[in-house]
Symmetry: C2
Subunit: 316 residues, 2 copies
């Protein structure tokens, strides 16, 4: 395979071909609290050209409203909630659409997940601030575990990043799934977020710990698998199309910095995709090693930065 | 393969051939708080016959002393600490022998691990009662994570079951390993303990969650692997031989209820092994399905119960 079988281009060039811009956020628009180049100006320019913009993030820690406020504050003042597809919202929609019979779920994750579920009419328990078994017996004793009163109304466990994760939460989530009734649904399975060079555990760590307790003998890891709703699951693109009456996929493009989530999402959903070099991949050379792992990680376009409208020069 | 290529026998028969009895505990001697059949009488009888008895358990939640007290209370009054090989002790010995340069470790797990490390002269931090970031920002905020002060003296992370596991403990453990210096050592990776029919998460859930955060991209899970010291790692048998000056392996037998830990341990260590039908496997028929997964799960002997000296009748 030749290394450079993708096209070096600019955002301005993409705007000539595409009407619907699906944007990953972290690594494309911002990096932590820093705005990447002129990304907000580029968004405002696309908006002024009549382009439709959708924000797709695997983070489940914020609601659509939280993201709208953040993005407006950054300078895209016309942003509305309907443009935002965080994995908390997307997961709530997925349950509502795919499992309309589920009226209550247990949540491992931040309260944003419970809020988005509630907005879809789905009751929930758990979440970040739930009381744990924080008494003299520890967070959860064998006795606490044995006697834990399961709510028969709970038909699914929804797992996202929970920065207040505890052994008790792990145990109760496992219990709901192992007793047979509850489906196992994850907002995403990202391994980590990079925080100033340190890898901070992501939702995948919670998902893995629960999953491991469900597998018979612990050696055969194929019995229970969660449904993972976030990227690269193409569900979010289908949802954007339905929500916004988009019928022409050839007018959509996915722009992201991660080959294994963003670019693979575009591939899985059957839309075009563009890699930015401002996040996980910082050079053309390193795209190659990703594509060697999985051909579907290959972008169709590469831009140096989404925050540069015209810059198509890329140094290897 | 014929199903019954192992030998049905009795503990009395085994005592004619073997001098060193390595016993799994849960599922062999006791089940939760219940003593299995006359297991303590059998142990006392073996002791009276001059046999040497060693207790091998993957549980890291008790020290040697804790186990001695428990076993004495059950009725084996001559039990001494030197007979007990719990994974907290075994792991401490492993670090002391294999990595004599390591003088301080971070512990995820119960305080028994810290006590056994201390008994081997290894300093530690962490453990079950460590303060978490339990303030208004949650157990561990991004800011807490970014600024967490790593101790350069810590050269390994030791992970066992921690019923007070938190996101902060997960994050700090991951951080010590990902920054390059610290080795990743697990007392065991058991998926769960069965508590009255419910699967209560085991050390493996903690291990998996930490491991997942270390793998580049989260998709390629082969970069960091912990050293797992508990069964079926043959280290414990080698340790028993060294500690007790045992030179003739043909006089040792491993007796346990789990094909994938106890029986495989015997195989890995090159000693004979006997399966009891009082735990994970409850019939001769189901041994077959284990052996189909892995030929090394095959016992050489089967007894209906370790708690029956003479009963060699086994109904299929």
């Amino acid at each position: 395979m030749e290394p450079n079988t993708f096209q070096l281009t600019s955002i301005r060039n993409l705007a000539e071909k595409y009407d619907y811009f699906c944007l990953d956020c972290d690594g494309v628009i911002w990096s932590g609290n820093r705005i990447i180049d002129q990304s907000i100006d580029v968004i405002n320019w696309l908006h002024s050209q009549g382009k439709k913009i959708y924000f797709i993030t695997n983070s489940s820690g914020k609601t659509r409203e939280d993201y709208r406020i953040r993005i407006q504050k950054m300078g895209y003042s016309e942003c509305v909630e309907e443009q935002i597809y965080g994995s908390a919202y997307t997961t709530a929609k997925y349950i509502k659409e795919k499992y309309p019979e589920i009226t209550k779920v247990r949540v491992v994750g931040m309260n944003s997940i419970r809020k988005e579920l509630s907005a879809q009419g789905i009751d929930s328990e758990g979440g970040e601030d739930e009381l744990t078994f924080d008494n003299s017996t520890g967070y959860m004793s064998m006795d606490d575990f044995e006697k834990y009163p399961l709510d028969p109304a709970v038909k699914a466990v929804v797992v996202g990043l929970d920065t207040k994760y505890t052994y008790a939460k792990l145990s109760v989530a496992s219990l709901y799934i192992q007793t047979g009734g509850a489906k196992f649904i994850a907002t995403n399975d990202d391994a980590f977020d990079v925080v100033n060079g340190r890898k901070m555990p992501g939702a995948g760590a919670m998902v893995q710990s629960i999953q491991f307790t469900l597998d018979q003998s612990g050696k055969d890891r194929n019995i229970y698998k969660p449904e993972i709703i976030g990227k690269p699951n193409p569900y979010v693109i289908e949802l954007i199309m339905r929500d916004n009456n988009i019928t022409d996929k050839t007018k959509m493009i996915m722009i992201g910095d991660r080959p294994d989530t963003d670019i693979l999402l575009g591939f899985n959903a059957g839309i075009d995709r563009c890699l930015t070099l401002t996040g996980v991949v910082d050079s053309l050379g390193s795209i190659q090693s990703w594509v060697e792992k999985n051909e579907n990680f290959r972008p169709i376009y590469v831009v140096k930065s989404f925050g540069k409208l015209d810059d198509s020069e890329i140094s290897q």
